[in-house]
């Protein structure tokens, strides 16, 4: 027992930023529900979850290149591309729908893989390489969907954006009113999707040599090289995984809105917000520290802050100002580490 406690203490000490982010999210969301006229209701939870899925996936996508010490400016664009692809292919028979989803995710993943190849073999800075490929992704999205629209299967749209009860009832999997099902029937499906992918993809990936190499590259690339780690494979994998997560976001957006929209402004805003979420979630922009679960929490914090504007009467014109101040406060919590540096030259290394 004592051992578990020390292990937990070690973990918390090593992940101060993550612990702070969790505490911040929990308190923000509690207060939000207390202030909300229909607080603590399933309807509010479902609505909030739906509105958070895309940015959570984008934040997780952004995390992986950031851990390497780079930035991926194409995540928003890949999401938009996947969104437009999904609006074409996710319909028809159940088999066709599943196939469509796979095509959508494969598109984003392949795009991320291409980013990785360009960064590694083109020897380009990630930020500029992805700025260019991001524009390409938007171009492809516009080619597929010059005007907003599309045709996403209505059943799946309904089933995946509500609680588990509706999911089961829509597809008649079993009796949705069964007594054993009751305690979990309220869980929103979007929340479940996020949790399953975050824990089912990210956590195992982190435990591969490739995943660990990503951390090693961001932390000390020289040491990683001297230890004989697969640097190129890790870099390509990082961008590929970013492409996959971004495609998840795009697919969900298509399902949620039943359509595709090659919206350039939206793609840019999502990219920038993903960087903010990564930082708020405790991942260092210098690389090597943090993780996608932290970014999930960071994205939720950003979303919850914006939810507040609905229940607190603030002049909409003041919203960006206040969002900026809150973001600044949140990220400055991470700057304390530099106070311990004894050799000032080390600031620059």
């Amino acid at each position: 027992m004592a051992e578990i406690r020390t292990a937990l203490a070690t973990n918390m000490r090593q992940n101060v930023a993550f612990t702070i982010a969790i505490a911040m999210l929990v308190s923000l969301y509690l207060v939000y529900n207390l202030m909300h006229p229909r607080g603590f209701s399933a309807a509010v939870l479902i609505q909030n979850s739906n509105e958070s899925v895309a940015i959570i996936f984008l934040a997780m996508a952004q995390t992986v290149p950031v851990l390497l010490g780079g930035l991926d400016l194409s995540v928003g664009a890949i999401m938009t591309l996947a969104n437009c692809v999904a609006s074409v292919v996710v319909n028809g028979s159940p088999l066709q729908i599943v196939l469509g989803m796979i095509i959508t995710l494969a598109t984003g993943t392949a795009f991320g893989f291409m980013n990785g190849l360009i960064v590694v073999y083109g020897r380009l800075q990630p930020i500029i390489a992805t700025l260019a490929t991001g524009a390409i992704a938007i171009g492809l999205a516009l080619f597929i969907r010059p005007v907003p629209g599309g045709n996403v299967d209505g059943d799946i749209s309904w089933a995946l954006t509500n609680d588990l009860y509706e999911f089961v009832a829509t597809y008649g999997l079993f009796d949705a009113d069964a007594a054993w099902f009751k305690p979990i029937a309220w869980i929103p499906v979007p929340l479940l999707i996020v949790v399953v992918i975050a824990f089912g993809v990210w956590l195992p990936f982190k435990r591969t040599v490739t995943g660990r190499t990503i951390y090693a590259v961001g932390s000390a690339e020289g040491a990683a090289f001297m230890s004989g780690l697969p640097l190129n494979r890790a870099k390509i994998a990082a961008f590929t995984l970013a492409g996959f997560f971004a495609a998840c976001g795009g697919l969900y957006l298509a399902i949620q809105t039943s359509s595709g929209n090659a919206d350039i402004t939206q793609a840019g805003a999502y990219t920038l917000n993903s960087i903010a979420a990564v930082v708020v979630g405790g991942t260092s922009l210098l690389g090597g520290v943090g993780g996608a679960i932290g970014s999930l929490v960071g994205a939720l914090i950003l979303r919850v802050i914006s939810f507040y504007f609905r229940i607190v009467s603030i002049d909409p014109l003041l919203q960006p100002l206040i969002e900026g101040l809150v973001l600044l406060a949140a990220v400055s919590l991470g700057a304390f580490r530099t106070l311990q540096v004894k050799n000032r030259l080390n600031f620059f290394r």
Binding site: T10, G228, R344
Partner: protein, 514 residues
């Protein structure tokens, strides 16, 4: 295999770096079941030798054999696969990963294709227990450990690769005395298991105590390999010195009593500076000697306001001087300049023009209010270029297009433009051609003649002897010898650098530390 066959054999190995030779026709053998010490002063070729053995560098000529098989390693992983494992002086640990992660970094234990955290922790615990480091938690991050603990983790990581040849490059210099004893025990244990250990250390006593075979390197050449006890300490020092003098130095003025200008009193920092006392007169050149990494660089950085948490007093011309930043150090009140060690990162902004680099430290002198006065700027640039005779086509060329020697002149000219009174030089002639070196020696002497106070760190003993009025030698963060006049000899400096008592240095050191 007969027991006499060497496990590692180098034949005619040479390595050159941009014109300078690091190794020249080296024949070297190392046998299994020995602890083999390698001795040599700075630049003798020790590091190049082990980098070639461990696959970091590839030789330009010659062959390497392991167990009689010719090999050619293109990276450290291949060397490790052949059983050659190096514990590097610059740590190869990843600071943001845990101890257990680091120990098994390249080949972790796996379960279902994923890293098995528990098995990895057990492995880390076993390896750490072998070097009596049970107090290190495998889950803690390497970043959280002290330097000596990190070094032990590095040793555990190397042990985990199951070495046949273990190379320790200054592996004990950061360790506590208890850990050093543990490492000695470990080496004896490995020797019994027929592992060859190549041991590189600056501590002569350590090599004497531990090794059974010694090899001396000098000027990139293998001088002699002999069994322990075949030569006395004094004879070994003589084997290590005897470098050809290639440069000519300006004549030194006769020693005179100089008014004290810079006074350093009990300066200490983070266990790397342990109470430095030194005073330098106006117009005096004091050389800072010793093997690399004994605190010389930290002393210069400390005086220049780069280090936090310094203890002790520094005074310039009787006024206390504790700059909080390089910006303060160069200000009118202190007038200190530092020509840094690595001109490519700390000295120059490589992508900017020669003119911009020359002006970088003295914008306040060429500006009117907030604006740079372009007439003053071009005049200052022209002066700087002519004073140091920098060979440039146009001052607007990018500085990285210049040769190494001219780049170094730009760095020096940049600092002379601030009109400093105290000039700190960190190995200013490293890696530049002989002609430029001589110009720099002449310049240093001229500056001293004009009353500047100069502290010069050099890894080249000949330079200290040729240039300096006095030489102090540092060892393990302390000054161990102060030499002046005829007492400045290569033998005295090398002996003091190794902190061994041979004739000249003992009396010189004793006189100042009695």
């Amino acid at each position: 295999m007969p027991i006499d066959d060497p496990i590692v054999k180098l034949t005619g190995v040479s390595k050159h770096f941009s014109g300078t030779r690091a190794l020249e026709g080296v024949d070297f053998k190392c046998r299994a079941g020995t602890i083999h010490g390698i001795l040599g002063e700075n630049g003798a070729g020790k590091s190049t030798l082990i980098k070639i053995l461990s696959g970091v560098l590839q030789p330009d000529a010659g062959s390497v054999e392991v167990n009689g098989e010719p090999v050619r390693f293109s990276n450290p992983t291949q060397a490790a696969a052949s059983g050659i494992v190096c514990i590097f002086q610059e740590l190869s640990l990843v600071p943001d990963l845990s101890v257990a992660d680091n120990i098994s970094i390249a080949t972790p234990p796996r379960k279902f294709g994923l890293i098995d955290g528990r098995a990895q922790n057990r492995r880390a615990e076993q390896l750490l227990a072998r070097i009596k480091c049970e107090d290190v938690d495998p889950n803690s991050l390497v970043r959280e450990l002290s330097l000596s603990r990190r070094q032990m983790v590095e040793i555990a990581k190397a042990l985990g690769k199951d070495p046949k040849v273990l190379i320790l490059d200054e592996a004990t210099s950061a360790l506590t005395s208890r850990d050093v004893e543990t490492v000695y025990g470990l080496l004896a244990e490995l020797k019994a298991q027929n592992v060859a250990s190549l041991f590189i250390s600056h501590r002569m006593q350590e090599i004497e105590k531990l090794c059974d075979t010694l090899s001396v390197f000098r000027n990139g050449q293998h001088i002699e390999t002999f069994a322990k006890g075949a030569h006395s300490e004094g004879e070994i020092v003589k084997l290590m010195i005897g470098r050809e003098v290639t440069a000519h130095y300006p004549p030194k003025p006769p020693p005179t009593e100089k008014a004290e200008y810079l006074k350093i009193d009990r300066l200490a920092w983070e266990g790397q500076l342990k109470g430095i006392d030194l005073s330098i007169g106006k117009g005096e050149i004091v050389g800072l000697g010793g093997l690399d990494g004994q605190g010389q660089k930290e002393l210069l950085l400390g005086l220049f306001g780069v280090l936090r948490g310094l203890h002790g007093d520094v005074a310039i011309d009787g006024q206390p001087c504790h700059p909080a930043s390089p910006a303060q150090a160069k200000s009118a009140a202190m007038r200190i300049a530092l020509v840094p060690e690595d001109r490519k990162t700390e000295g120059l902004m490589l992508a900017m023009s020669i003119a911009d680099n020359l002006l970088a430290a003295s914008y306040d002198r060429i500006s009117d209010g907030p604006f740079i006065n372009s007439d003053k700027a071009s005049q200052a640039v022209a002066e700087g270029i002519s004073k140091l005779q920098i060979k440039v086509a146009s001052p607007d060329d990018i500085v990285s297009t210049l040769s190494g020697g001219n780049q170094q002149k730009v760095v020096i000219a940049k600092w002379l433009m601030t009109d400093p009174e105290v000039i700190l030089l960190n190995d200013p002639t490293r890696g530049i051609d002989v002609g430029t070196k001589q110009e720099i020696y002449k310049l240093i002497r001229e500056l001293a003649d004009r009353g500047k106070t100069i502290l010069l760190y050099s890894s080249d003993y000949a330079e200290l002897i040729g240039c300096c009025d006095r030489v102090v030698v540092m060892y393990d963060g302390k000054i161990v010898a102060k030499l002046s006049g005829d007492a400045i000899s290569e033998e005295a400096i090398v002996a003091a650098s190794l902190n061994v008592g041979t004739t000249a240095s003992t009396s010189a050191a004793g006189a100042h530390h009695g």
